[in-house]
Symmetry: C2
Subunit: 312 residues, 2 copies
């Protein structure tokens, strides 16, 4: 599996550079890096020369799996070329996530969907991944009735330039921001989080509302979550379920700083919501560049590559 021919498109961006690093950590030996014309020809820290992400190069039949970490518009244009050339595309953008028939995969939650693809798999939003990892075992045990989420999202979710801006911003000017496109009622980030969570959990009717906020933190997203369940679920039971959930680690006070650089979703502050009968409140934090993006894509890649090898 580690000899699959992998291409990372958008390799110089915030997510792409973490993708290159994790591929190396996990022993992939055959990795090419692509980016826009502006970055083509530059040399990455590991010596890889960046190629230009031209349609012909992606369609040339020399890629088994292509990991896209470019914007939604660029993904819409480039992904079909990679697929045309025989690659399986795993796309981080919002371009394909809600398309019927295109799997939207969190390997801990709905791994079977990864095998149902038709050339394209979508990697979910950076807040939806840790949220579904957390909600899945609770839903399986007690049935989710409704979910409310307030997010604390780091600037790295907005890309490398936003990180550079924060690095140069005097502390006196730090502010909360809502830097997503707005439809008059909610931010695109809020509808993504709702709709993708429903698709991943396969709960199309789950009532969920999110308030999304950008905070002046470099890496790591956190979420304050309220859930209500059909059946009684005590904080102790939730604690036990989450303590053995894959990719979840219990932590008294999760924070972006504690989650950054790690592979796990930190979940804590699990307590009763005393305002309703079957309610729980909890707080989670995850590395949005790793489990929230690059790592999740690579876990999908591993599912796909294993299948390709088994089929070969």
């Amino acid at each position: 599996m580690r000899d699959a021919r992998v291409a990372v498109i958008g390799a110089t961006g915030a997510v792409g550079s973490v993708t290159m690093r994790i591929l190396r950590e996990r022993g992939f030996e055959n990795v090419r890096a692509f980016a826009s014309a502006r970055s083509a020809g530059s040399v990455l820290a590991d010596g890889t020369v960046v190629e230009e992400a031209m349609p012909e190069a992606l369609a040339a039949g020399e890629i088994d799996i292509a990991l896209f970490s470019v914007g939604t518009e660029a993904s819409g244009k480039l992904v079909p070329h990679a697929v045309r050339g025989g690659a399986v595309a795993i796309d981080k953008s919002a371009a394909f996530r809600l398309e019927p028939g295109i799997p939207l995969v969190v390997p801990e939650v709905n791994p079977g969907r990864a095998l149902e693809h038709d050339g394209i798999l979508a990697n979910p939003n950076c807040c939806a991944i840790p949220l579904t990892c957390t909600l899945k075992p609770l839903h399986d045990a007690a049935g989710l009735v409704r979910v409310r989420v307030a997010t604390y999202q780091s600037v790295s979710g907005a890309g490398a330039q936003a990180m550079e801006r924060l690095r140069n911003e005097p502390q006196e000017q730090h502010d909360l921001r809502m830097d997503w496109s707005f439809d008059g009622v909610e931010f695109e980030e809020e509808s993504k989080l709702r709709d993708e969570t429903k698709k991943i959990l396969e709960l199309p009717d789950l009532p969920l509302q999110a308030t999304c906020v950008r905070v002046p933190v470099m890496v790591g997203h956190a979420e304050a979550v309220w859930i209500e369940t059909e059946d009684e679920l005590t904080p102790e039971q939730a604690h036990e379920l989450l303590g053995s959930a894959p990719s979840v680690r219990l932590e008294d006070f999760p924070s972006p700083g504690k989650a950054a650089g790690g592979d796990e979703v930190l979940v804590g502050r699990i307590r009763r919501d005393p305002t309703v009968e079957h309610g729980l409140a909890l707080f989670l934090a995850g590395d949005n560049l790793r489990k929230g993006a690059a790592l999740n894509a690579i876990q999908i890649l591993e599912l796909v590559a294993e299948r390709q090898r088994a089929a070969a």
Copy 2:
């Protein structure tokens, strides 16, 4: 009223220095500054020489109204001396807020309570003040059933030293923090926000849960709020009610940066909570040092001073 003999105890702290500034803005002419022995003798920007907050000085009968912005422990010790000397004490700490018979006042919400004091009035928690300003008109119109709040609190709420720490912290190290005392289930800040909101609104049975989080912002607290009401309340109706509520200003996307330095609570993002029948979500931001602390105390002072003058 502007010639009342006012004392600010804790005048060199984060809230105290804003208190001194607002007193000057509002034309108070007879203001003395007190602080701990460490700061006594220092000279403030406006030329005021800081006196040591000794019990005898506070009890000497030369103060009409004493504004305390010291810690809960220091307030518990010093406030009785000022009252003994004939002053009315308005205390910012948590020492007296939940004491039966001691008014906890937000002048826009329960001004009548300010006249029922017995020498001590309490100034609420910095998150409870903007929250109650926002909830009061909504409750009067439709009856609150339950409230959930996730906070985004700036470091100035933790005092001048915390501001200095953030000023010197590299952006890469910024993190969310939960720097309050913890009882095993919730932070003191969360129980304060709940219990004080219930006392101010005079709704002892209101179910309310808060998740409190410190964010790396210098000044200004924000809150993501979900409410449910007895009667139907549309976002349009809530918009109209809040548009004419005292000390509230509608703002599409409230943020600490927009609120800082101003006297108003910014409220926006008012929308249906589609997960329940009579639910609304909204987002608010206020200057925690001004309306969340110093300004609210001075508004209480003005109510008290007016009464003292009328009685004289």
